[in-house]
Amino acid sequence: MRRSMLFLPGNSPNLLVNAACLGADAVIFDLEDAVSPAEKDAARILVRSTMGHMDFCGCETIVRINAVDTPYWQLDIDAVLPEGPGLLMVPKAGTAEDVRTVEAYVTRQEARLGLASGAVGLMPLIETALGVENAFAIATCSPRVRALFLGAEDLTADLQCRRTKEGREIAYARSRLVMAARAAGVEVYDTPFTDVNDDEGARSDALTAKSLGFTGKAAISPRHLAAINEVFSPTAEEIDYAYEVMEAIAAAQRQGKGAVALRGKMIDAPIVARARRTIATAQALGLGREEQV
């Protein structure tokens, strides 16, 4: 479950060692934009050492490696792969070939290191117009791709438009990524809200992402995590309704009925699927009921 993901600069020990207690479902150790070229080596070693020695108490660790057009990305993978990151974030993913290049290298290194093949997933970071246009091809280019991630700062620079809090300039990209990811059967995560002092704006931005179908949302400040987690958690009412749906389905099956109605509306397969997802999320959060439906 990844409602929230928090970016942490890869060369900042005071943030890395506290990653587990900042409130994020996942943390992204950033070896790319947050690290200057002169410190890439030290950050890579620090992230590897921290991952190898710290207990993150169930908080998933993701590593943003450098882009495939830099001299760093293979060194990044060499360093962190043995530490078992949950995902590798692949920045500047413009084409399926970019992601396949990383996939091929990860596969070779897994074999060389004796690691389980295919264990590490990839999360392409879509942050160019080319990447948005190729989103479905990127999402389906490898079984290692577990999610797409929208990066709006670089995207708006590429689009030659201003990044705004309202986000109208990224509305198409957001919808396009959700569509591509859902069609491919992978998760999809929204760009951070970058005004760290605007809590209400962060909450509103998370609500927008949730309404469009995103699985979760990233943050660059721990201040935004509580709002993101709340927005991407099912409400008590949604959980109750999900259990009602499953109970209605079970009752209909016992009675041999084909069609099922609840609160005056027909219950069809998409509603059942949504109810299952809600219950699964609720259980993961400890909000589910004891009985198995």
């Binding site: 020990p13 030290a42 070693i45 050492s49 921290t50 710290m54």
Partner: protein, 89 residues
Amino acid sequence: MEIARPASAGTMESSDAYVEIEPREDGLEIQLESVVLDQFGDAIEQAVREVLEAMGVERALVRVADRGALDCVIRARVEAAVLRGRGDG
């Protein structure tokens, strides 16, 4: 591994350590400065020595300015300093 040139890694920020390394004629010399020297000085020096030994560094002067860094951070900063100062780097 030979240390060929002075090098450093890390910062003086909280939870970090600033590690400097220099070539030395014979053996290892470790100079340690830390606000928790009395409590953790031996453990910090042990961590530094373990990294140097694992990397095959037998002759070097290492200065560590600890700012409350955890063991994994100190080890990372020593490793980075060694790699930056090595002869074949």
